[in-house]
């Protein structure tokens, strides 16, 4: 069974016809040739497919495209205008926060979404005072990004990169 839908991906509007079984991840990669989000597990367990869906970080492998008709999708590729780098992407370069790079677009989208959540005052499970302000220390960053696995184990540098941007957000 098929469905017609529209998606705005990294600022570009698309209309497409997909099988109802198609996920947002497969719609992006297989139908629209947007390959920045990666398929790691296809079961919600690794975070490689993370995109911002209507502004919030989401797993595109568990989202059915048909259920997101009209949505605005931002991938790691579309975070900054053509030819520029988003501050989080720049920090990943500066801190050598990857090895093979497969998890990186998901890590970056997740970090961008996470920084917005922290700026809005959302607590995490390691926040001591649930009702208090959020300070993005290393434990907070690691917890908030635990949904993104890195098989190369670049975690220490990923936390460094995000901490740099996080401290600027706080200032």
């Amino acid at each position: 069974m098929h469905a017609d839908l529209s998606l705005t991906v990294d600022g570009h509007h698309h209309t497409l016809t997909v099988d109802t079984r198609t996920t947002v991840l497969d719609a992006l990669r297989e139908h629209l040739a947007v390959t920045s989000p990666k398929k790691g597990c296809d079961h919600g367990q690794c975070g490689a497919c993370t995109v911002l869906l209507d502004g919030r970080r989401t797993l595109s492998c568990l989202s059915l495209a048909v259920a997101h008709d009209g949505a605005e999708v931002t991938t790691a590729d579309g975070l900054a205008p053509e030819g520029e780098l988003h501050p989080v992407a720049q920090a990943f370069l500066d801190h050598d926060a990857f090895q093979c790079g497969y998890c990186t677009p998901g890590q970056i989208c997740s970090a961008v979404g996470m920084l917005d959540e922290a700026a809005a005052g959302h607590p995490s499970v390691v926040t001591d005072d649930l009702a208090g302000p959020v300070t993005l220390d290393r434990a907070e960053i690691a917890e908030r990004l635990s949904g993104n696995l890195c098989r190369c184990g670049a975690y220490a540098h990923i936390v460094d990169a995000v901490a740099e941007v996080g401290s600027e957000v706080a200032r």
């Binding site: 069974m1 919030r56 607590p123 499970v125 993104n148």
Partner: protein, 348 residues
Amino acid sequence: MRPFAYERPDDAAGAVATVTADPDAVFLAGGTNLVDHLRLGLATPGTLVDVTGLTSTEITDLPDGSLRVGAGVRNADLAADERVRTRYPALAQALLAGASGQLRNMATTGGNLLQRTRCVYFQDLTTPCNKRAPGSGCSALDGWARHHAVLGATHEPAGVACVATHPSDMAVALVALDAQVRVLGTDGERTVPIGDLHRLPGDDPSRDTVLAHGELITAVDLPPSPIAAHSTYRKVRDRASYAFALVSVAAALDVADDGTIRDARVALGGVAHRPWRATATEQSLVGAPATEDTFRAAARAELVDARPVESPRGGTAFKLPLVTATLLATLRDLTARTAATTTREDPA
């Protein structure tokens, strides 16, 4: 994956009518459990009825002091709500201890309650499983049993055995907080106390809850409760984050100035087919002094009927001391905090 039709009725009643009339139709909310099950071949519906726009995404104060959480409220938004953080901290903590930031942005209150067990054999179509294929047997009994039950399970006869656990963290907190679940059916709305929503396997492990096919969760009400403001959630897992509970405790204590426990709420996760209200623990705590001996006796009271899975490939006997230790740590923590508040409020 079996092909399916996708529908988005005009309202919740329409969704209920559609699914009730069609044994092959299911509700779709955030999709974080259902889409995985479609891919695993575990769920093979002919029609998905999307309810994300049909159930409320609001959290509202009711005149009687309750907080009403729409079934469509995302787990992240529920945890971030100021009223939940201050009035029901155990709920905020339980939500934040579950899944990941991305998943919590997608998962809904209704879907979280109705997520299915993470038993690996349930998810593996090639193995016997009474929950998935009634009568085929239970592979966990002599298999890789780690996330399995110690309380309320069915160990025999073989054709109905099931030792699965309910995976939701949120539900454990809701049980301790005495939440009420609002359910819409074709005959109208009814209220199910959260403690009665999930079933024990009994002789039909295929059914997780008391809901009929087509009944829709519309909201969860949190009753007003002063003790809830002093509640907490503690989760023990195989890694520090992004893992299901081996054991968890949601609890609240009211300790008088003389150290006597006036009131207690305790629920356990990771131990049974449903979030487990620890009534024996509660009874043994109330009226007793808030001491280590009381806490130990309270843990023992709940575990007298425990029966771990004894599998050659690892069983759940390790959970008995783990439940005790987790419960003790939680009760100690709550007692210390109550003492701290009392001292601050009453310097005399």
